[in-house]
Amino acid sequence: MPFDATDISLSVLKIAIVLGVLLSVTPIMVWVERRGSALIQDRVGPNRVGPFGLLQSFADALKFILKEDVIPAKAHKVLYTLAPMFGLLPAVTTFAVIPWGRAFIIPEMTLAGWTLFEGGRLFEPIVADVNVGILLIFALASLGVYGIVTAGWASNSKYSMFGAVRASAQMISYELALTLAAIVTLMSAGSLRLVDVVNSQAGYFVLFDMIKIPAWNMFPMFIGFVVFTVSGFAETNRLPFDLPEAEAELVAGYHTEYSSMKFAMFFMAEYMAMFTMAALITTLFLGGWDVPWYDEPPTFLGFALSVLAFATKVGFLLFVFVWVRWTLPRFKYDQLMRLGWKVFLPLAILNIIIVALLIAFQWI
């Protein structure tokens, strides 16, 4: 495959876009979370800094940078410093294999006689289109637990330690249900490549010869969709499954001892993981960048519309994350484990059998 300067600059552009969105998602989501919680609890929320309090997050970020960085005297200094980086690394990298728009052919661009860009190139809006896409996501996501475990151990504090132990048990348990729930989408797509998963969801189901619904995986694989979404909440340590933090019992869980930018890195990792999870749910079950009831042309307009559709779906899911957090109370630890192993795991396996039958009878 020829790989020239234009390809490299396109790759750099894509990486810049994805990283830029990932980094800006944290301040925006913090604002949405605080305003959303205020809305749900009938309060006002932060509304002083900037219009609608939009700049509050940036003020918070500035505060994080300026705070004193405390390392506890009896902490393991090297691991204590490395732990937030372990946590942030998978959160930043996983988005690379998720497609975020329809591919389009770049038209030739000229400016005053100069060819700015030779046309005829296919622009695929995905950083790394590898053929084991989803496995890469699970591989990197399974490394996310090291940040938490290392932080808990290196802090040398009992609350941090309890938080870390809970987190690792929880993440290992729910990873299983998450993976099994995702398998069905790969079965119907016949590929591990996420672009193929999205393409397999194009088109429509026609009910009773008149109602057209988009052929998104969430309709035939509803059980898998629910199991995946709920396990996604547990995997990202969000309420009602935020036992690793559980401020009523564990002060702040695994990051109790952390301050300043190191704490901010855990915070960023949590919101980035949430964003990636929302993007993954969208890609696997909600048709990815598919615009319902409309066939996008393979041009820049189609690309822009598909990115907009993707962003809308991810944005809605992110709002659901906030909505659920401020609506449901926290689970007890034994309830959480029982739900993971005794409810979601059998449900995910049942879903695999159902979808396998559907595929065998060629209904989907």
């Binding site: 393991h76 090297v78 053929n131 084991v132 890469l136 591989a139 808990g152 132990v165």
Partner: protein, 173 residues
């Protein structure tokens, strides 16, 4: 050129972290170094155009097995202690055995004149053909492994299960 740089960086990482695993006094640092070493090996698989094996390497070893290792080490909270040399024979055998193994290994690597290079065609990294192989040619060992794992799971449950009256687990503690 780029591949070569990536290879040397991660090969060096794999070796350095592997050395840290056996030399560092702190067991948690050792465990995390092993994770880093395994991850570097996964990068080697990517360079060999076997991304499927690379992903499995990270999921199974770095992601699942080492988390449990780390879990146990942290819960036991092993303290640093210098044990007395109670059995000099064991010390001797340990050093002698590993030195003999190392020398043999180096001798044969140096002696080998024809180093087989891999064919340029990539490995069977396609999941479809891998699955077909697994369920046709290698179905017997595959099913045997699953029975082995099942018996291990049942064994683990039996050892830790409490009786109906809530008495202590039957396993040797």
């Amino acid at each position: 050129m780029l591949e070569l740089i990536v290879f040397y960086v991660f090969a060096a990482m794999a070796v350095i972290f592997a050395v840290v695993v056996i030399t560092h006094k702190n067991t948690v640092v050792s465990a995390i170094s092993l994770v880093a070493s395994l991850f570097s090996l996964a990068v080697m698989y990517v360079l060999l155009e076997a991304p499927f094996i690379a992903a499995l390497q990270v999921i199974v070893y770095a992601g699942a097995i080492m988390v449990l290792f780390l879990f146990v080490i942290m819960l036991l909270n092993l303290q640093l202690q210098d044990e007395e040399r109670t059995r000099p024979v064991q010390q001797f055998l340990g050093w002698f055995g590993s030195a003999a193994f190392g020398i043999t290994l180096i001798y044969y690597i140096v002696k080998a004149t024809v180093i087989q290079t891999l064919p340029h065609t990539p490995f069977m990294s396609d999941v479809r053909s891998l699955g077909i192989r697994l369920f046709e040619a290698y179905v017997f060992p595959f099913e045997m492994v699953s029975i082995l794992l099942l018996s291990a799971i049942v064994g683990a449950i039996v050892l830790t299960q409490r009786g109906p009256m809530g008495e202590e687990p039957r396993g040797d503690r």
